[in-house]
């Protein structure tokens, strides 16, 4: 569906961002790209979406080569999108991409309302000023405003950075429903911790290469994190330690479920 073949990219000759990387997306899975700041996480999304042209290599979307931005075929959300709110109500803010496309206001707002309620915002929010919402709520409105045009591929640049626990949970549970609709989701992140419960495919961008993290065992995953210098998520660290003494735990769970697993394993081991 989405495929990057042999991509090489550089902003200037001094620093090469990507050196012939390959990537193939699976629908219904979450793809997380990790890396240090400046390693090219956003650049990779930009290339995949068609904002930037790679120096070498090709990008394919649904069998066709991507030559200009996938504007109405896929969805791309820049980081901190709530900066650009300008409409007076949440409903108008969420529905303006449709209104722009000459869809009747009532119809557009009905669609937007549907999406907003699905994202976990209640009815009382719809007529509020979007700037008066909390950060997590704003982020959800921004996500709706982008996703409303509907598409099979979704590119999110740091969707949960800067959010509190509640906001993160809301975005994550929404991501889960999106994934259940067999869509391709590409996400960049500073930390993997929060995404682990969605059973993601994880890639690390390091030294202009794209390295897939092998989650078959916790120790192999931990090794990849250590080699690339990225801080490994807590669950991976604990999982690797437990694995050393012969206990296997499932990493792709919520925090609470994971704690339960660890507690059970410890009790079993002790007695």
């Amino acid at each position: 569906m989405l495929e990057l073949v042999d991509i090489t990219f550089e902003y200037n000759e001094k620093k090469r961002i990507f050196e012939s990387i390959n990537f193939k997306a699976t629908s219904g899975r979450l793809h997380v790209f990790l890396g240090r700041s400046g390693s090219g996480k956003t650049t990779l999304l930009d290339i995949a979406f068609g904002f930037l042209k790679p120096k070498q290599g090709r990008v394919y979307f649904e069998g066709e080569e991507v030559k200009e931005p996938l504007s109405s075929k896929a969805v791309y959300l820049i980081s901190d999108p709530e900066r650009y709110f300008f409409e007076r109500t949440v409903l108008e803010e969420a529905s303006y991409p449709l209104v722009f496309r000459e869809i009747a206001k009532e119809k557009a707002q009905a669609v937007a309302k549907d999406y907003l309620l699905k994202s976990g915002l209640s009815e009382e929010y719809l007529l509020r000023d979007p700037l008066s919402l909390s950060k997590g709520e704003k982020r959800r409105v921004a996500l709706v405003s982008s996703l409303i045009t509907g598409s099979k591929a979704i590119f999110l640049d740091e969707p949960i950075s800067g959010l509190d626990r509640k906001g993160k949970d809301a975005v994550l549970s929404w991501l889960r429903t999106i994934l259940s609709e067999e869509k391709v989701v590409l996400v960049t992140a500073q930390k993997l911790d929060d995404f682990l419960e969605l059973k993601p495919v994880v890639y690390i961008i390091s030294n202009s290469k794209l390295i897939e993290v092998d989650f078959s065992t916790a120790r192999s995953a931990y090794r990849t994190f250590k080699e690339t210098g990225i801080v490994a998520p807590e669950k991976v660290r604990i999982g690797a330690i437990l694995e050393k003494s012969g206990v296997k735990v499932n990493l792709f769970t919520t925090d609470i479920e994971f704690s339960e697993q660890v507690a059970r394993a410890l009790i079993k081991h002790a007695y």
Binding site: E68, F85, F100
Partner: protein
Amino acid sequence: MRIEAIFSYEPKDGFLFRLHPITKVLFMFFFSIVSFLFGLKSNLIFVIFVLILIVISKIPILNLLKSFKGIYFFLVLAMLGNMFSQPGKEIFQIGGLPVTQEGLETGILVALRLILLVFISISVSMTTSLNELSKAIESLLSPLKIFKINVAEIAFILSLTLRALMLLVTEVVELRKLYQAKGLIRKGMSLKEQIKLAYYLLVPMIVITMRRSEEMAFALSLRGYNPDRTRIILEERRVSKYDTYFAMGVFDIFFAICNVLLVIFAQVLL
């Protein structure tokens, strides 16, 4: 090269970087005035002079030219407007419109002046940090203190404006990206859609500008910033020998051109 880079200053080791900011600001004013006093040939010399300055200051000139696609349109417009509008000796015709020698010369002259102004202002803004620029403007405006004008505040406003311009450019780039992703900007849009898009671009930009300036004011008041207070400057730049050489070079060219003009003038008279 991205558009933000035009306004950005990166400390490097080049000729213009070593000059005192006041020299550079004066040089900017001097050339912009002189360019309008003199004719075609002298302006050509000025442009070549500024180009040499840019090259020896290690500013990437080819990238710079590439990021000026917007200005070429105005250059051509200014040239064409003058080419057809001046009466005089006809050289050739384009589509039935006569092009005169005088018209062609004024067209090229106007274009050269525009190029010169753009190059000078860029060569100054890319080689001077905002702090230094505002300080230079402050000390150049200091005679206005006699009229009880708050020079420090004016200089501060100027430097803030330059800074904010850079911020706004980056915001526009991001906003464009967001709209492209939402399918609001795409190829082959009708005129009606483009007009509608202008609304969708302008309103958020005004909102962002207001919000940004509010944030800036908040940040300044939090830090207790007061432009009137006396400040001690760490590592103050002093007028060096480079400034003297530079001033000598500029005036050399200036007087050389004056001489040439004088000779031509004398030949015409005699």
